[in-house]
Every structure is written in C-alpha cells, then in structure tokens.
C-alpha cells in the first residue's frame, strides 16, 4: 500500500502538469516564539514556502539553547537561533552548519538595552564604561547576553572579568533581578526595557547595537538535512529570501531623518506576523515594531561575525577544543555579507 502510494507520488512529481513538487516530509523549523524570526512568519503566511514546493512546520521553543539540542536529536531540520557557546560546541561535533544570516544588532535599531537598577544608577552607574565592579545578570555563561557584554567590554575597553556575572537562567529572572536591585545591571529587549524605564524601575544606560554590530541570530541546518535534502533546503532558502524581502519592504524603509516609514505594507506584514506571535494582543502592532531589527538583503550571512563570535567564545574558554570555523559554515545556500 505504502509502496503504491510512493510510486503514485513519484509519478505525480514527474508529471509536468503536477505543479510544484510535493516534498516527502515537511521541513521542521525551530524558532523562538518572538518577533525575531519575522521573515519566516511572513514567508509561511504568504505561502512562499508552498510556492517553492516545500512544506514548513514551525516548532516553537522557549529558549535558544534547546533549539540546537533539538536539531542534534533530530527533532528539527533547520533552526533560527543565537550562536551561543552551546551551539558552537554542538556544531563543532559536525552536527550543525550555519547557512544564513538573521537578525542584526546595528546602530540605529534599539533592540537590546543595557538596564541599570535604580539603586546602581543613583550610585553612579550611568554609562556603560562604569560597569566594572558591578554585578550583571545574564541567562547563562556562553549565552548571547554574555557575548554581547564581552563585546561591550571590548568596545568600552574594560575587562569583562571586572564585572560579576550572575547567571539567572531566564530573561524574566534578569528583569526581576534588576527591578529589585539584586543585580546592578542586565540586558533586555526594547519591549521589556522601555516600560521598566517609564515606570521608573530601571534606567536604560545604553543600546547594544550602538556599540556592537552583531549578527544576533543565524539560520542553521542539520548535517543530515544538508546531506540528504539539499534541494529542499535550497527551496526553503529561496522562500526565506522572499520573506526577507517582504520584511524589508514592510519595516526597513526610512525617511531622510532616519525614521522608519510605515504604510499598508507594514500593516499587512504585522497581520501576517500576528498569526504566530502576539496573537490576539491589542498592542501587537507596537510590540512587533519595537522588536524590528535589521535583516540583510537576501538573508546574507555575516561570515566574519560568526568567526568573530566563535573566536571570542574560544578565547573565553566557553568553547573547548579547536573548532574550524569553515567547518561549521556552509555558504552554498545563501549569500554572504
């Protein structure tokens, strides 16, 4: 029975009139349920994947780390995630390949804020270069927050070891800790940081993107996916590029003063995105706009940045063993910056 169905499907796929070929299995895409993978939402909502003949199934995660682990375990085929120490460790074992770029921290986009607690701010922690000697909440050692702090330290020329790192596992813990003054400072995305400052519970003392250009997320695929379904992956990437194009048209156009231009295309994209995040939230539009960041044209991968990240994690001892950066990057699917 199955054999006959397979044969039938193969015959259909071979028929010139059959339209876009149907993939044997959907591509399972692991993402955080945040605005950051917005181009994938748009591509899916508008049928770009279907038009390429691939079916995409979203798998939502609560944290970045499990996305890479799920890929190694074979639960997802591609994923969008921050390149953490854990990611590099898994990729270094040959399980994962970075294939494309994602969201970027860039000057002008206020994505990730550095927050100082009320008490610490009043006691003089008013600028980033005063962070030494203070405690700083991160999720985990080797997380993207840890990396961003490291980059800030490099930019502001202080030793990251002079900052007391407090691993708090989860973003809500970081926010709670800075509100109650249990840590002097932490990082939070704009949609969390701004209300805190408005309520007088913390002070924003800087934006990461202003000092540290950084490719926050990257698109990766599992080794078996690349080895056995490269064609499907190619199609997937083309749909992603279409999604990026739509995203850029909706959110990344600016007037002479550098203010974003919002129009009907923006509203349409927000409608698409709310199918995946902030569903039914009356404040969805403003929350989505607060989470918008830079995406390179064509979903280009910033190879140099990936290598810089790997080098930093290795230098900090957060990734063990020599890992060849070229061995974990595959540039055949998407352009590079």
């Amino acid at each position: 029975m199955t054999l006959r169905r397979r044969a039938l499907l193969a015959a259909l796929a071979a028929t010139p009139f059959a339209g876009p070929a149907r993939a044997a299995a959907p591509i399972r895409l692991g993402v955080l349920r945040t605005v950051s993978p917005a181009p994938f939402y748009i591509a899916h909502s508008r049928g770009f994947f279907a038009a390429q003949g691939v079916e995409v199934e979203f798998k939502f995660f609560q944290a970045a780390q499990p996305i890479a682990a799920a890929a190694v375990a074979g639960d997802i085929d591609v994923g969008v995630t921050a390149l953490t120490g854990g990611f590099f460790a898994l990729a270094g074992k040959g399980e994962l390949q970075v294939i494309g770029g994602g969201l970027h921290e860039t000057k002008g986009f206020e994505l990730t804020a550095v927050l100082a607690s009320r008490q610490a701010y009043d006691a003089g922690l008013t600028t980033l270069d005063k962070l030494p000697g203070h405690s700083f909440g991160i999720t985990q050692f080797g997380s993207s927050f840890h990396y961003m702090l490291g980059q800030l330290a490099a930019a502001k020329k202080f030793d990251i070891k002079s900052v007391t790192l407090r691993p708090l596992q989860q973003v809500p813990n970081m926010v709670a800790a800075v509100r109650s003054g249990q840590v002097d400072a932490t990082m939070a995305i704009a949609s969390m940081a701004r209300p805190l400052e408005a309520a007088g519970e913390a002070k924003i003392i800087g934006w990461v993107g202003d000092y540290v250009p950084y490719q926050i997320t990257a698109l990766f695929a599992t080794a078996p996916m690349i080895a056995t379904r490269a064609d499907d992956l190619q199609k997937f990437c083309r749909a992603y590029q279409a999604g990026v194009a739509a995203y850029r048209a909706a959110f990344l156009r600016f007037d002479a003063a550098g203010k974003p231009l919002y129009d009907a295309a923006t509203d349409a994209a927000i409608t698409d995105i709310t199918k995946y995040v902030y569903t039914g939230d009356p404040a969805a539009a403003s929350k989505i706009k607060a989470g918008i960041g830079w995406y390179d044209l064509g979903g280009a991968l910033d190879v140099a940045d990936v290598k810089a990240q790997l080098a930093w994690f290795a230098a900090e001892g957060l990734v063990k063993g020599p890992i060849d950066p070229d061995g974990i990057i595959d540039t055949r699917f998407l352009p590079t910056r």
Binding site: Q65, A69, V72, T84, G85, G86, A89, L90, K93, G137, Q140, F141, G142, S143, T164, L165, R166, P167, L168, Q169, N173, A176, A177, S180, Q182, V183, L318, V319, K320
Partner: protein, 259 residues
Amino acid sequence: MREVGFRGGGFAPRNLPFAGALTLVLVVASWQIAASLGWISTRFLPAPLAIIQALVGLAQSGELRLHLAASLSRLAWGWAAGTAAGLMVGFALGLFSLARTPGLAIVSALFPVPKIALVPLFIVWFGIGEGSKLVTLGFGVFFPTVINTLAGVDGVSRSLIRMGQSFGLSRTAILTKIVLPGALPAILAGFRITTATAIILLVAAEMIGAEYGIGAFVLSAGNLYDTDALLAGITVLSLLGLSISWAISRLERWLLAWR
C-alpha cells in the same frame, strides 16, 4: 519411599563486601574499553578517561576547590538549618496534640511540592544571593525530616514512656532519655534521604545567580555542551553523595550500636 525435597531457603540476601566497589570498577572499566575500541561513540558520551582528565584539569586549575567550597558550605548550612527546623517541628507534631493535626495538614500539603518550582519565589523573597540557595536546600530537607522525625517519635513505644513516668522522670528527661533515642534510628534513616535530597537540590539552588558551586558548574557545562566537564561535575556530585552516605553509616554504627 522417597526423600523429602528441600524447598526452603532464598529470600535472604546478604551483603557481599567489595562486590559493590568491584561492580562500579568493572562497569567503568568496560565502558572505557568499549569507548577505546570505538564500540561507543565518544561524541556525546565521553569515556571515563576523558572525564578523569577533565576532573584533574579542574583540580589543577583550582576551580574544583572553589566550586566545592561554595557547594559544601551551602550544603552544610542549608542542610543543618532544614534539619534543625525539621527536628523541632517533627518533635512538636509528635508530642503535642494541638500542633499535630494542623501541622500535619500543612506538611502533607507542602511536602509533595517540587522545591525547584518554588525557586523563583525564593528568589523574589530572599534574593539571588546565598539566602535563596540556603532556603531551597533547607526547604527540601525540612519536610522529609519532619516526616521521619514524626514517624520516629510515633514509633517510640508508649510503654517505655509510661515506664519513664512511673519512675518519676520529668518531661524533659522523658524527651531526652526516651523519646529522642527512640526516634533516633528513624531520624538517622531520614538523614540518608535528606542529604541525598540536598545534593539533588544543589543544582536547582545554584541555578540562579551562583558564580561558583558544583551545581552551577554542572549547569553551565550542560549549557555549553561541554560533555567532559558536565560528567566530571556529575562525578563530583556522585562522589559527594557516596562520602556523605558513608559518613552516615559510620554515625549509625556509632550511635545505634545497641540495635
């Protein structure tokens, strides 16, 4: 005529000395051999030698000492606080009718709550410093101690207490000379459970805001997928558990020689 066949025996397991240690050694040795021969992939399951190397590295860099010192002090204080409170409450429930039923209701309601789930609350209440860590450990230790102490006190023969009364022993003397030693076996058995619980909770306690500690180290190694370090940390936790269990056995042999 035929001989009556033997049908008794069995159901009387004996402790074979050294068999436990030998089993562990054999398992580790065969694991190493299988890994060396390539029968087991070491990609995500490091071989024992790699784990030992990681341990040696940790010890030489002085990191192990820092982590152990932090964890041991947390274990000691958290366990001692939870045990002291648990003993007091356990005795109160065992001795006073007014405390018993309401106290038992509260203990029964809170005992099954996974203490890990309460960690966020402890952080709000006690901060991300040592306070919340000690409370997490102490809380986890407290309930089994109460239950075991109560069972121990309940298990003290009433006729012994009546005997004490009949010889004119004061309440305090009955407590210290009859109830306490009578409950001691159950209390010491509880120590086995609570020390193991404390080690289990160490990872949860050190999840938040801990720079040093074996639990924090294990978590961090897990997050970084540093499998050698992860298993090295787990080995340390396991050895810690074994040493404490051995110490309790010594304590039992010394305090319960009369059994």
